[in-house]
């Protein structure tokens, strides 16, 4: 039986997950600036270099970083096994991923083969190092809960997505964008969104929603079958894409149905939650649920419009669903980790989680983020909206960065001033 997760030092050091959370909004900021200086007619094409760069600043830089940071922290709790050499892995994979992503952004924009090659090295190395370490942690698990199954499945998809991504980068390096590139790009994006991020979120929601909001538990059918059913759908979709294109709609319907059902379930569970608190994280979950529903329907609808709306599907699902959940999670995890580590060191006079992040600023961040999402969707019809929406997105990322840093400043201040050792009251 694995005992590492229950030892006194089970939690990885604060810096391991925190560096990912601090960096994520900065990549969001880069994406926002690139969008601001772009033209909506360019961004409507999914294969435009600018679209690809912005999409990856968000998917790898924001979503990927947040997911990896959260997994570093959560695996010991969810799985009971510490990732081997977690400090080393978190530090070096972070450096590789950051340099890799920056190289991808600049290399692709400048069409520089050497810099793009560095991107392939950094991103491939960083992701595989992290996934490999998690796979080793998961290998020793005896109690294979639905959440553990979902995390394992999503990591399988993640590995395949990374290899496909490397192939795609390679074709940019050698300047050979052929038909195979287009097919792989399509599989890469659909599996990344639904296979890696989607399945991971569903698996974690099984635990998190009933726990943090005292909401009703997910039904046993849902917990036992949904991940398997979605994975089957994704494999079916792959086979149809390769060999029977006219049937892909059926696989898409299959996948979208389960994600739509998940979105509805989340909404209903939040309605039935026993905790009356409505903080910004509840708003983020609700936003995610609405955008996932819209995105799932549009993904099907798009089939009848020669994939004209595929970028809009990306905004609805990637931005509205996945990103909303990630931001909501950051708001819960960061202040808790700061409290947890300080308390573990013996400090008692610690501000509560709600005192670490200003409520007003978190709602302002949510408002500017939501406004930017709606603006991006309508920028398809009113191109002038792109700039103002980008501006709103930039502000939301700056606010998020501030809200992430605020608890860290509390942490530093307490370590410096040691309030529990303050003897001034006795003078």
């Amino acid at each position: 039986m694995e005992l590492n997760g229950l030892s006194i030092d089970q939690a990885p050091p604060l810096s391991a997950p925190i560096r990912f959370f601090v960096t994520a909004p900065l990549f969001g900021l880069i994406a926002g600036i690139l969008m601001f200086f772009n033209d909506s007619s360019v961004l409507m094409g999914r294969f435009a270099v600018d679209s690809i760069v912005i999409a990856h600043a968000l998917t790898i830089g924001f979503l990927g970083f947040t997911m990896l940071g959260a997994l570093t922290q959560m695996l010991p709790v969810l799985v009971g096994a510490k990732m081997p050499r977690v400090e080393f892995v978190a530090k070096y994979s972070y450096i590789l991923l950051t340099l890799g992503l920056l190289s991808m952004i600049f290399g692709m924009l400048a069409q520089n083969a050497i810099v793009t090659s560095m991107a392939a090295f950094g991103l491939g190395g960083g992701f595989l190092m992290m996934i490999g370490s998690m796979a080793i942690a998961l290998k020793g698990v005896k109690n294979f809960t639905p959440t553990v199954k979902a995390i394992s499945t999503s990591l399988v998809f993640a590995t395949l997505v990374v290899f496909m991504g490397l192939f795609l980068l390679y074709s940019y390096i050698v300047q050979d964008i052929n038909e195979l590139h287009m097919i792989i790009a399509n599989i890469h994006s659909v599996w990344a969104v639904f296979g890696f991020a989607g399945i991971l979120i569903i698996g974690v929601a099984f635990q998190v929603l009933p726990m943090f909001y005292v909401a009703p538990k997910f039904k046993s059918f849902c917990k036992k079958r949904v991940v398997w059913l979605i994975s089957t759908g994704l494999v079916m979709w792959l086979l149809f894409t390769l060999f029977k294109e006219e049937w892909t709609l059926f696989a898409k319907l299959w996948i979208a149905t389960f994600f739509w059902a998940f979105a509805t379930t989340v909404w209903l569970k939040l309605n039935k939650r026993r905790r009356p608190i409505s903080d910004v994280t509840v708003w983020y979950w609700r936003t995610a649920s609405i955008f996932l529903t819209l995105g799932s329907f549009l993904w099907i609808f798009d089939e009848y419009f020669k994939h004209e709306y595929v970028v809009m599907v990306g905004i609805l699902i990637g931005g509205g669903f996945i990103m909303s959940i990630m931001v909501g999670m950051i708001y819960k995890v960061v202040p808790f980790l700061v409290w947890f580590h300080l308390n573990g060191m013996g400090y008692m006079s610690i501000p509560t989680m709600n005192e670490m992040i200003s409520k007003k600023l978190s709602y302002l961040q949510f408002g500017t983020f939501l406004a930017s999402l709606i603006g991006f969707v309508f920028a398809f019809y009113v191109p002038e909206l792109l700039q103002i929406s980008s501006l709103s997105f930039i502000i939301s990322m700056l606010l998020l960065e501030y809200n992430v840093i605020a608890p860290i400043l509390v942490y530093r201040k307490i370590l410096k001033t040691k309030p529990d050792f303050d003897m001034s009251a006795f003078k």
Binding site: M1, G5, S7, P276, P351, M353
Partner: protein, 146 residues
């Protein structure tokens, strides 16, 4: 009769209900939540003592592991007791922000703790103590909170 794992897992759910009642009352009136806060603390304390005074003791004497998972769980119980005391202090002081800030921290800490118990410690305990399962559950059910 249920297993040790089922018994203690369902007790976690019972404590969650008390927690939700307390928060619900506190949204209406912080002062009015004092009684439900005390009830919640009493029930949670009972759960902690069922573990510390019965199940952990049995587990430790059976396996010889006194510095392992049970030590970690006792440490987290101490952290949660500290937060529960702060909840009562916040009610006494009429400080709603402090109260909900503390309940939020408590909730995440406790759920993380419960998850570790339900997924690791309880299955281990069940495995080592299955022969005495009925006796241990009887002892836990009849425990009087000290």
């Amino acid at each position: 009769m249920s297993t040790i794992k089922e018994f203690l897992t369902s007790d976690h759910g019972r404590c969650d209900e008390y927690f939700a009642d307390m928060e619900k009352n506190a949204t209406e009136s912080l002062e009015g939540a004092k009684e439900s806060c005390e009830a919640f603390i009493h029930e949670t304390e009972k759960h902690f003592q069922m573990e510390e005074r019965v199940m952990f003791e049995e587990f430790e004497s059976k396996t010889g592991m006194t510095e392992g998972p049970t030590a970690m769980m006792r440490h987290e119980h101490a952290q949660m007791r500290g937060l529960m005391a702060q909840m009562l202090e916040a009610i006494e002081a009429g400080n709603k922000d402090k109260f909900f800030g503390t309940t939020e921290t408590f909730m995440i800490l406790q759920q993380q703790h419960n998850m570790k118990e339900e997924q690791m410690l309880y299955p281990m305990a069940q495995q080592h103590l299955s022969a005495e399962s009925d006796r241990i559950i009887d002892m836990m059910s009849s425990l009087i909170v000290e």
